[in-house]
Symmetry: C2
Subunit: 327 residues, 2 copies
């Protein structure tokens, strides 16, 4: 007999290895029930991935699952929150177990790694899409918002920037390169590491933070807007990988422009006062995550690009799903 | 200039009237932050509505918004939870303000009525769909689950059953009837009242509860399964409206069959011990919501239909989005 919606849910989603003590009731009732410790905020974030917009309909379901969950975990990391629970709304054109099995395997592997329990969701028929709502916990008063940057703070990013955009160009056949380099860059696009341990370590140290999902040049503007400050980024300070420079045939300017506009990096961008510079170094030492100072918070409004301290006038914009310029 | 994703969010979603004290940070950061009072569970539910599966693509956006939010609130009601927060993932083929404006007006009207604050979400490009994650609060130990029904309990439903199915048949042009009757039944399909006050009143009184989304005959099985008991429903006890009987040209059996299988009713179905019968009457008196005893919890497993105490063998099944029988 054909399998029903309910059978799918039972078979694939109700047997996660990770079981948290704070989940009172998980999948199988009208709601999940969870408990929150005293003196903690709950951090909540929702993101959708839609076939044809965020991934190709024939993309590897394991990579789609990873990307969907990793991008949501990254929002928790950007808040300084520790991941806890996730709800999954999955819309499928038909019941395709050859798609579902690798999707679920990848989803739960990542969820288990970050101590996240699937607590509920919905499985519906329709054009392929995935919407996740992740929740995490952060001590009251220690969340990293976008609104706390102060004039004089340094601006930092984790990891390298630009590899994700190069990987996407390869996936979309807009570029070609040597196979092992292509594999590395495509992997960087699909398999970003959410910086949860960095976010946790930045509690009490960073003045503002967010994750890079639309390109650092677009995202950092949100810190400027919410904190009512101006942002200066020096393109020579942008961390770019050897792989990206090779992909760009050594064209440093092209690599820097990719680093500025590359979306779906899921690196953290954060501001720290100069007084906290040593505390930052100590807090991040144990994470083994590279971080780089890329600029300064200054008086005024807006974003300026510099090159070795001199103004630049590159015309660039961040990724926007509707394909129009964001001003 | 064309409007970007961010402008849409700002314009339509960031100015809700309802502002809750427990929302520390709402829309505009990587996550929302909320606080939970001591000794409360958080109840979480996620549902998707997909154009072409759950509603017609050209359906009135105000009705789509109402249906999406009401069905989610109903899950909280079924748990005995008080609604608090909602996250909205909205996927649209294009930016259509003629669609968005009535959608948002209707969405926020209902959210404000139930003291729910929109705390976040995602707006993406793709085939029209809406995924909501609602959250509510319920005192620890007082949530209404599906697993507590005991042999000897009475089974109740709120309101009337079947009107929603009749309304849907009219919307899909599978049936016709006189215009004012049609308007009433279509309204019943689109504008069910989530039974939040009933759910809250049932805390400490009902042994199990759920809301009727797939048809009472399909939904009540979940209480049977989770509570490891058998369910008997007497079709003569099913509450059917005068409108439904008129729609069925007085055919009582047809009305009862619609009542059994009608999905998206969003009435509550719950079990109460005979010892709590008077407490139930007192608790629900102030809600002004009609409720009817439709059967009994008995020993064994499975669901039996009776008519005036005698076995019936109607072949019926509940709604299943993939259109196959759920066993």
């Amino acid at each position: 007999m054909a399998k029903s919606e309910f059978d799918i849910i039972k078979q694939y989603f109700a047997h996660q290895q990770q079981q948290r003590d704070d989940v009172v009731l998980a999948i199988g009732d009208d709601c999940a029930l969870v408990d929150v410790p005293a003196n903690y905020h709950v951090a909540v974030s929702t993101d959708s991935l839609v076939a044809g917009t965020h991934f190709l309909a024939d993309a590897d379901p394991a990579l789609v699952a990873y990307k969907a969950l990793a991008s949501n975990i990254s929002d928790l990391a950007a808040m300084g929150a520790t991941p806890a629970w996730v709800s999954l709304a999955l819309t499928l054109p038909s019941i395709d177990e050859a798609w579902l099995a690798p999707f679920c395997h990848s989803f739960f592997e990542l969820a288990n790694r970050y101590n996240i329990q699937l607590i509920g969701g919905d499985t519906t028929k329709g054009p392929l899409s995935i919407t996740l709502t992740v929740q995490g916990l952060v001590p009251q008063g220690q969340a990293l918002t976008r609104g706390g940057a102060q004039v004089g703070d340094d601006i930092y990013v984790t990891g390298n920037l630009g590899d994700s955009a190069a990987g996407l160009a390869l996936i979309l056949n807009q570029s070609q390169c040597e196979p092992s380099l292509a594999a590395a860059l495509v992997g960087r696009h699909f398999k970003a590491q959410p910086r949860v341990n960095v976010g946790e370590a930045l509690r009490g140290i960073a003045s503002a933070a967010l994750d890079i999902s639309d390109g650092v040049i677009a995202d950092v503007k949100h810190i400027g807007d919410r904190s009512q400050v101006a942002i200066e980024i020096d393109v020579e300070k942008l961390p770019v990988s050897v792989d990206l420079l090779t992909f760009c045939n050594g064209d440093r300017q092209q690599a820097q422009q990719l680093a500025l506009t590359s979306g779906e990096e899921y690196e953290l961008c954060f501001t720290v006062s100069k007084a906290n510079r040593d505390a930052l170094a100590m807090a991040l030492a144990h994470t083994n995550v590279k971080y780089s100072c890329i600029g300064q918070v200054t008086t005024g409004r807006g974003l300026s690009l510099l090159q070795l301290g001199k103004p630049l006038s590159w015309k660039l914009s961040g990724w926007d799903h509707f394909g129009v310029t964001n001003n």
